[in-house]
Amino acid sequence: MYVFKGGIYRHDEMLDKIHDLGGIVMQKTPMQTEIDIVFALPGYDLSTLTELAHKIKGEIHEIPFGDMEIAVVAPSLSRHHLPHPVCDIAEFLRRYGATTNIVGLARGYGKTIFQISDKERRMIAEHDAAIFSFGAFESCILEKVKETSSIKVPHIVCGGPRALDTVENYVGNVGRKSARMRSVEDIATLEEIKRMLMDETESLREEIQKDPPPYAPAYVKKKIEEQLDIRGTLGDNPVVLHLDGVRVKKPYDSFNGQVRGVKIGDTTLGDIAVISRSDMNDTIIVKLLPESQTGGGTQ
């Protein structure tokens, strides 16, 4: 996944080139005289695009989380945790292509009363990865980490103490903040979160690559948008990529039949994916089945 950052002027040349090379445009975000184009393309075709980007005074960057939806979990949605540091983490990950959702736990604060409910667990499990932002005290974090051990998706725990010996997936120096994370030290911490998240999700990507779904999620997204004529606004992406599927942000009861009927190659989406109701805002989760269960595909 890559993003083109450049001017509006002649950006249509870039779009044509991406289409010519067989790439898929995920999102176009114009901002006055600038535009961001997120697209998927095989790496070996990139040099041609880079030449064109250079010619029209733009830049192309790789976005490692472009095909991921990440949950940033705060102990609550109160002023103690938002906007700093939880929104800072989410904003930083969005720079690298991630779609982020902030999940505020109902009882995520306090040492003795902390808990993650079943519904919250299911909501977090719908994402490709999760980042938990806990407080400043080591003994509280250690109590809370016990609850996160049952979360199956790759996850990272953030907190105040610089290091915790007993927690492997831990990034320190986050904790509680009263101002935006923009100092050199804070940026290094955010980079550490990004690096650890990439490490944590690497094994999941490898696992999916061993037995991939017959069609890439980016291709499925394109087909859903084309056939259901779903268009989002500039701030909203109606079909969000996951590593092994997509989330369609439409009501389940009204749209699940249409989503199942989307034609992909010589089959329908309902035959190659498990389609279920999401616990988050009644959206639709499409989880693509691996080739070993569907008999292969062409993309």
Binding site: R79, Y109, A136, E138, S139, C140, G160, P161, R176, S178
Partner: protein
């Protein structure tokens, strides 16, 4: 300059809470109102004890400090210098000396007839309470969110608060007395 001291936790934890407290108080314009803020954590229980002592200039505001008083033919002429307290001055004087004895000559000029001799020392506004409320509000930003069982012990120039998420215990009372002795020199009975 305000002094914030945090103790009881590990160095990392204390440093982070201290920074958070200093920045929060500064952002809310309360840095110059406090002489000392002492935060002691006992995360094993868990409980937080916070003792705050205001600066000496945080005290109830008298009429003399908010206006210039001068004798005149129509009574005492009061020229209000702090417009923020104008309505409090007007209503307090009406209560104390009677409505008929207070007249408004210009926007910020009042005349008081039959004025009592201690007119300039009348308390117009309890500034201490405003500062107390604002600091308590700032404390809810600073202390961890889960510590919602809160008990106060107020003094004239400050207070001590215990915040926890368990029912009150005798340890809390002992600790509060200890902190009070440390900051004020003796426990208020």
């Amino acid at each position: 300059m305000m002094e914030v001291e945090v103790r009881g936790g590990k160095d990392d934890e204390n440093t982070q809470i201290k920074k958070l407290a200093e920045e929060t108080l500064k952002n809310l314009g309360l840095g110059k109102k406090l002489k000392i803020m002492l935060i002691e954590s006992d995360i094993g229980l868990p409980a937080f004890y916070v003792a705050c002592k205001f600066k000496k200039d945080v005290q109830p505001l008298s009429l003399g400090s908010l206006a210039t008083l001068r004798e005149s033919s129509k009574g005492v002429r009061i020229s209000v210098t702090h417009e923020r307290y104008y309505d409090q001055i007007y209503s307090t004087l009406q209560e104390r000396v009677g409505k008929e004895n207070v007249t408004q000559d210009e926007r910020n000029i009042l005349f008081v007839s039959n004025a009592p001799p201690d007119l300039d020392s009348i308390t117009i506004y309890d500034y201490t309470e405003e500062v107390r409320d604002n600091i308590i509000d700032a404390l809810w930003h600073i202390l961890p969110e889960g510590f919602r069982v809160r008990r106060f012990k107020h003094r004239e120039d400050g207070f001590i608060v215990v915040a926890t998420d368990i029912p009150p215990m005798t340890e809390f009372t002992n600790k509060v007395d200890e902190l009070e002795k440390e900051i004020w020199g003796e426990a208020d009975v």
